[in-house]
Structures are given as structure tokens and as C-alpha cells.
Symmetry: C2
Subunit: 406 residues, 2 copies
């Protein structure tokens, strides 16, 4: 029997413990010795839990038990998760985590420690919840020169945008509803300002190039400025507004454009139909062409399932490292101002002539869709810095949203 320990008995951690029980048969079909959670580390007691006897409060009990081969770190946050993970890996105990904050900040360092100690550091659940994406990036897509990754990486904001689109509910109302349903946190800033999606596209971009894309370097725009008028325009143009994390190879510079922002996604794009709390990651490889991975981006059991798949991989590879190519060297990103983009723009009707002068070749968008007193248009492809400069010469810009290419 492979003995494991779970650090943090919150939503995902308790899901891991329960899943290993509920799906015992599936687990032991692959890990023939079977797998068992021996310890649960948490500050709290859980007197009503059937797992109460496994709860410990001292990490050293786990670290010093030679039976423990795999640790599931579902504590969240940087500390003490970082210190515990490092200590475990230094003893040759594999660590599997859903902690995107820690992976984005210390991924390559922990991978290196794992390799030096013949164990593994795996983090399938840190991006896209239950969607298999980290392992496919590292195996199935390994022969490819990946040129583009586009992800719907945050369930809260995708749920909100879907509701606004399908039910004509305002941003404020849909946020309140999402909070009531438990899809959005009381302080929803990390989600709606795009920082959660930013950490995830940073991890995917790092795996794409093998170096470290720092999430602090990524230009990040959230969805709080998206209005019902924008949503109505998008619908009239056969598009849907989605918060995307995008990473694109800049062939000339040999580096990447990485960005998190709302985009108008055309109906012809496979990401268009990804609704509610579902997430998806679209990948373009130079020879494989397009692939997409779709599933639940969050939730107790989908996320736990991803963690347990990693734990099973570790159990099948005790004494060996499952290698993930990600170096600690910082990846310089391309200047986002040089990225060529088409914008959807809304200005007061009085600015129409000036807008047409500043953006030659622009095309009026969905005439009759918006209020009478405004002019909406789609620009020609333009460098983002040039767009910002020209926009600043308009008396008012009511909205400017990027268009995702077909």
C-alpha cells in the first residue's frame, strides 16, 4: 500500500481524501498496491469527520515517517506551503499540488530539488482545475513547437460573462449572484481583475518556452469595465466576450507576447462555446495544428481528481523523477505595445469624424445596436501602443475591447 499525506483539509484536500476512498477500485486498477492517506495535516480538528483519526498538527510527523512516499499540498498560499514542499522533496518524497500561487512563484526551483532527490513535483491541478493540460503539455505536445496558447482560465469570470450574455444581467447583479452561489469570493478582485488567470497563463507560458515567465511581467486587464452595451454589440457581431489568457510566440524576437484581457471571441472559434464555470485551453502547435482541452476549471472533486492523477503517477514512479522542462531562467517578454491587434471601440457620435481620421480603414460595428448618441467601430489591425496613442486624442472612449482573430 502506497502511503500518502494530505496538507490542508480544505475543499480540495478533503476532496482528495474522499476521492481516494470513493474511487478505490479505479486507483488500484492502475496502482496495484493501492494508495492510502495516512495523515491529514491541518491546524483544525475535525471531530465529525470519518477521517478525524488521521489528522495531525505537526508536519514533522509526516516528514519523519519513512512510509510516506507522496504528499498532496492543498494548503494554498506561499507559506508554509513552500517550506513544507521543499522539505518533503529534499527527503525524496514527491509533492503534488493545486497551489498555482506557489507554482507560479517557485515552480522551477521545486522541480530542480525534486530532480536532485529522485522524486517528482507535479501540479496538474494548478491550471484549469480538472482539465488535463499540464501533463499533455509535457508529454503529448512535447514534439511540437507551440506557437499559441489561448485559455479561458477562470471559472468565476467566465460564469459572469456567460450570464451577462445569455440573461442580460448587469455586471453588478451577476457578481452578487455569483457570490451567492459560491462561484465568486467575497473579495472577488483576484478573479475579476484577471490576476488569477494571469498566474495560470504564466505557468502555461513557462511550460511552452521552458523558461520562467513571471506573472508580474504580464499585462493584465480584468472584466469590471465590461458593460451590457458591450455585450449586446458582441452578440450582434456573432461574438462573445470572454476573459482570456493568451501567449503567442513572437517569431522575430524569439520571445512571447503574453496577456490577460477580455476579448471578443468569434462564433467560429472553439472557445466561443465554452460557457459558465467551464474552462478550456486552446493550443496551436506548428505541426499538430489546433487542439483544445475542455472541462471544469474548479470545484472540489474535479480539482481533487487532477491532484490524485498526479499522486498516482508519483506512486508508479517511486525513486524516479517525472521530468517537467521548466528552468529558473527568466523569460523576457515582447513589448505588448508592439502587438498587432484589432479593437472594438465605442465613442460619442460627436467623435465619429475624428475617430475615422485617427483609425483609417475602421468599419462601423453593428449599426443600430447601441444608443443613438454613439459611434461604434472595429479598427484595422494596429500596434497596441499606436492604438493607445490615437485613442488618447479622442475626447472620450466609452469602451475598447480586443477582437480575437478567427
Amino acid at each position: 500500500m502506497i502511503k500518502a499525506a494530505v496538507l490542508g483539509f480544505g475543499t480540495v484536500g478533503s476532496g482528495v481524501v474522499e476521492l481516494i476512498d470513493i474511487n478505490k477500485k479505479s486507483v488500484s486498477r492502475h496502482v496495484s498496491e493501492g494508495m492510502e492517506v495516512k495523515y491529514i495535516l491541518d491546524l483544525r480538528e475535525f471531530p465529525d469527520s470519518p477521517y478525524r483519526d488521521r489528522v495531525v498538527h505537526d508536519f514533522n510527523i509526516i516528514l519523519e515517517d519513512p512510509e510516506i512516499k507522496v504528499i498532496c499540498e492543498t494548503m494554498g498560499g506561499k507559506e508554509p506551503a513552500y517550506t513544507f514542499s521543499r522539505k518533503a522533496l529534499e527527503r525524496g518524497i514527491s509533492v503534488c499540488t493545486s497551489n498555482k500561487e506557489l507554482v507560479a512563484a517557485h515552480g522551477p526551483e521545486l522541480l530542480k530539488i525534486a530532480e536532485q532527490n529522485h522524486c517528482s513535483y507535479l501540479f496538474e491541478a494548478s491550471v484549469g482545475g480538472g482539465i488535463p493540460i499540464i501533463r499533455p503539455m509535457n508529454t503529448s505536445l512535447a514534439p511540437e513547437n507551440i506557437t499559441q496558447i489561448i485559455g479561458i482560465l477562470n471559472g468565476t469570470t467566465n460564469y459572469m460573462m456567460t450570464r451577462m450574455e445569455l440573461e442580460d444581467i448587469s455586471f453588478e447583479d451577476v457578481l452578487r449572484e455569483a457570490q451567492e452561489k459560491g462561484y465568486a469570493e467575497k473579495n472577488p478582485a483576484a478573479d475579476i481583475e484577471g490576476r488569477d488567470a494571469c498566474r495560470k497563463i504564466a505557468i502555461l507560458s513557462s511550460l511552452m518556452c521552458g523558461k520562467t515567465v513571471r506573472f508580474e511581467d504580464i499585462s493584465c486587464e480584468g472584466i469590471s469595465h465590461i458593460s451590457m452595451t458591450d455585450v449586446a454589440y458582441a452578440r450582434s457581431m456573432g461574438r462573445a466576450i470572454k476573459l482570456l489568457g493568451i501567449s503567442e510566440r513572437d517569431e522575430e524576437a524569439g520571445t512571447f507576447y503574453v496577456r490577460t484581457a477580455p476579448f471578443m471571441v468569434p462564433a467560429s472559434h472553439p472557445l466561443h462555446g465554452v460557457e459558465d464555470v467551464f474552462n478550456a485551453v486552446f493550443v496551436h502547435g506548428n505541426l499538430l495544428d489546433n487542439v483544445m482541452f475542455y472541462g471544469r476549471g474548479a470545484g472540489k472533486f474535479p480539482t481533487a481528481s487532477a491532484v490524485v492523477s498526479d499522486m498516482m503517477d508519483c506512486a508508479l514512479n517511486i525513486g524516479q523523477t517525472i521530468r517537467i522542462r521548466w528552468e529558473d531562467e527568466k523569460m523576457e517578454l515582447s513589448d505588448p505595445g508592439q502587438k498587432i491587434t484589432q479593437f472594438f471601440v465605442r465613442v460619442p457620435a460627436s467623435e465619429k469624424a475624428r475617430a475615422q481620421e485617427l483609425f483609417p480603414g475602421c468599419v462601423e460595428a453593428a449599426p443600430g445596436c447601441g444608443p443613438d448618441d454613439e459611434f461604434a467601430f472595429v479598427t484595422e489591425p494596429v500596434a497596441e501602443a499606436a492604438f493607445a496613442e490615437c485613442s488618447s486624442r479622442l475626447s472620450e472612449v466609452r469602451s475598447a475591447i480586443r477582437m480575437l482573430a478567427d
Copy 2:
């Protein structure tokens, strides 16, 4: 340098050789020694190919070269592919294949030989071309009790159905067009009669249960009877007709319903938007919920990319077996007549009263959509055998197509 051999220099085989050259950098980022194709086995000469010097005609040259660690089998058909694969595995040489016919017929036997000889038999490219599905089934989804797999598994028929839907072209015309474009073969029977999709759902079903689902046991219906009238009805109902391979757990009997047939797919289902030559596999796990894998189901480089990802996995695991759980024991399937299904049905208007009597609770479908002289309806959920029996009591059934549940 890891030395490999490619058996069969056709479309996929030549794609493998070229990909390893074109994407040398990506390959050696993961397989640090690098990988090289030393031999190409084919009956033909290729005097104009840059790889002509590697062509050999005698398999024994490959078998007896101790440098060869991995073989790519892209010959197609059962023989000599089966004999060559077996001989290679018996010598501890891993084999990676796109040959669905061979995998469906001899998969578990070859997996066993691989395990006995500390090498691997991998077949990512045998289902869904470039879509990562076999490896995720065996790793990412390993903790799950998979209850349903629904696949668009054949690019030719999906292209044809998409064209019929979007362009109002008849079955005969679209088949001719597909043949001209090289999407359909001169003899398209294996595709349009569903036998190709049947082999693929047999492989996926076998991985789902760990035993052998024989494709000969799967009820199989093709698309040649689908008319433009059917397509128009589907569109009016917000659905699209797609050829699906479906495998569903029958919880009571502990076995599976497996079927290949055209279905009317609702717009709310993620498979609805999978168009043209793209394929997708939708999987429901008991705790993971829904996931979907989408990509190119065929084509030289997408398929080659899947084969090369397997070859890289083998190169990283020389002397070890990458285990795939699939036993030679035959899986008995549930009686397809007992499966509960809703049908869309078209009968002459004169049969309306009798149809309503035979199918109580049936609902008229998209009134006004079809010709005046007919009555179209959707049945309540009904056992398929009971449906067939009732249908036989109607003077004429113009069409009967299954409805995929929301």
C-alpha cells in the same frame, strides 16, 4: 542519440521522419540525447527523397541492429504489421503505432509481450489522430470511474455532415466533393458505414473498462441514409447530426452499451460545435464531471505528432514498460435493444394517428419544416428494441435518428 526505425513510408510514416527533423529542437528539449530515424522500411525505393539512404527492404536489418530502441509502425493493416511488432517487442524494442486495425485486433496481446520484455507498446495516434486521448485516458483520467465516452471519431463523415448542414449540399454531392479534396477514399465504405469509428470506440471502450471490447460486437450504423430533410429538421430543432461512437456504463449489469450511429446533437452539448475534419472525444468521469479533447482527427502531421510523442515517451523510458491497463479478457456488452433512447422519426402524414398511438407522449418536431405529406415527431425515451418493434407496425418510416440527451 536514440535511434529509431520507421516501418511504412506512407503519409504518416513520412510525416514522422520529417517531424523529427523539423522539430529537432522541441524533441531534444525533452529527450536530451536527441532522436534520429536510422532506418525506413518500405517495399518501394524513394530515389527523390532526402531520406533515400535510410530506406531498407528487409525487416531483419532493423531487428538485428542493437542500436534501435524504438520502432514506429505506420504500415497499416494486420500483416506484416502484427508479426513485425511482435518480433520487435520480443527483443525489447518499443513499438509506437497509428494502426487502429491492429490495435483493435491485437492490442492487449502486444501490450503483454511489451511488459514481459521491459519495453512499451503505445498507440496514441490510433484514435483521434493528433488529439491527445489515449495517454490522458491512461494517466490523467486514471482516478476516475468513467461512465460515458462520446466521440466524433471520423473526420470524413464529420466533414460531410458539416457541409450538408452549412451548405445545403446533398449526401451524394458532398461525398464526391470529399473524394475530390482527398478527405474521403475512393471506396469510402469504412468511413460512411461507421466501421472506422467503430474500431476507435472499441479501443476507447477497452481502455475504459480494462478488458477487450471487440469491435465486431458493437452495433454500427452509418450516415448514408441521412437526407437533407433530416438535416433541415435537426437545424430547426437547434441540433446538428453527427456520427458518434458512444460507450456508456450500464450500472445495473456492470457492463457497457457501445454503439456507433448518427445522433442529433443539441446546441448545448460541447460536441455540437465540432465541425469539418475536426474530431473530439467527450468523457464523463464520476468525480471529474465532463472533459473534452478536441483536435485534428487525421492528417499527415497531426497524426505523426501523436506517434512522435509516443516515441519520445519510449525514449525517456528505455528498459521500462509504460503500462496501459487493457486485458485480453473479452468484455460482454449490454443488449443494445434494452438501451433507453429518444428517436426523431419521419412518417407519411397518413400514419400520424397510428404513430401517436404506437408512441404515446410523442411530440411533433419542428412543424412546418418538412414536406406537407409527412409527420415528424420525437418519441419519449423508449427501449430501442421496443422502438424497432413499434416502428415495424408503421407502413413506412422515412427516417429514424437518435437524439443525444442534453
